[in-house]
Symmetry: C2
Subunit: 154 residues, 2 copies
DNA sequence: CACATTTACATCGTGCACAATGTAACTAGA
DNA sequence: TCTAGTTACATTGTGCACGATGTAAATGTG
């Protein structure tokens, strides 16, 4: 065997290391917006959905980001405390909490737009290489999620 | 603009999502070994180094896994408590803590060997595709780290 | 040798992730 | 309408990550 257990042979470690390295780059850029990386992802979803005028529920964010309420509830409370979003319990169904952007939250988008650009500039990797990597990742994620649906109790 | 801020266009989100999906697969496999995923990575390094009879210091693990003592110290304490490793302060340099595998830690390798195999079997993605992804990730990581060394205060 | 600096970990605080559990609100069936 | 079941979110506890700081040991300098 050419060592299945060798760290360098484990795709998991490459994923883990690259993810942390990329997140680290984002961290310093996002510090200027006073956002953490997961908070930034939540804001991305909210900015995206703001166009379609559909109210966003906590479960919508969870479905998009693959996060549960255990992660989202405290995160959203912090975003609300910073005045970027509001959390309102629905009147038609009191189980549901509706998330909407405040004016400040909407405005933050202008600053956030610069983040991906700055990140790409600071990244000494060919853009087409990143694009290829992203497409590979998306394909793998899709495969894993379809598979997960096929065997719900596996 | 074709929306730089769209979630699906952000490589960071693909990385984040795939990393968590893969980690999740590992989690259930590693539960049988009573290991978390980062603990498993530490054990991989220790098994690797056990061959060369070099003593492993906390900073060696940190360099390999890109983790600092704030993460490693409590993690290593937990591994020690489970009897897989021993933590001994060096006699020649009392700042250094030397990590070594216990007999139980060495033996666990036999069980751990099955983990990557089981993971690959349970993953409905072509192996050569994973290999390509891994190589892409390694290349990106390398590029980012070389770059990081070039600009230490950037 | 005295003293500043560096090194190697340890500690602390914050914020995720996630499993497990709790709870109130809605829904469906008899 | 009573009740069993489901849904949507909240809470709790554990374990990372990581920045910031602390501390003792080693090293370097005059």
């Amino acid at each position: 065997m050419d060592d299945l257990l060798a760290l360098d042979n484990q795709i998991c470690f490459s994923l883990y290391a690259v993810n942390r390295a990329v997140t680290s780059r984002y961290r310093s850029l996002l510090a200027e917006l006073d956002l953490t990386y997961p908070q930034y992802l939540v804001m991305l979803v909210l900015w995206e959905r703001a166009r379609s005028d559909q109210p966003t529920r906590v479960s919508d964010l969870g479905a998009r980001l693959r996060l549960d309420s255990g992660t989202l509830t405290p995160l959203l409370k912090r975003l609300a405390q910073r005045g970027l979003i509001s959390r309102v319990r629905s009147l038609v169904d009191e189980r549901v909490v509706t998330i909407s952007l405040t004016e400040e939250g909407v405005d933050l988008r202008e600053l956030a737009i610069q983040v991906p650009q700055k990140l790409l500039c600071g990244l000494d990797v060919a853009p087409e290489r990143l694009l290829a990597l992203r497409n590979e990742l998306k394909a793998v994620l899709k495969a894993m999620e379809i598979q997960g649906e096929k065997v719900p109790n596996g």
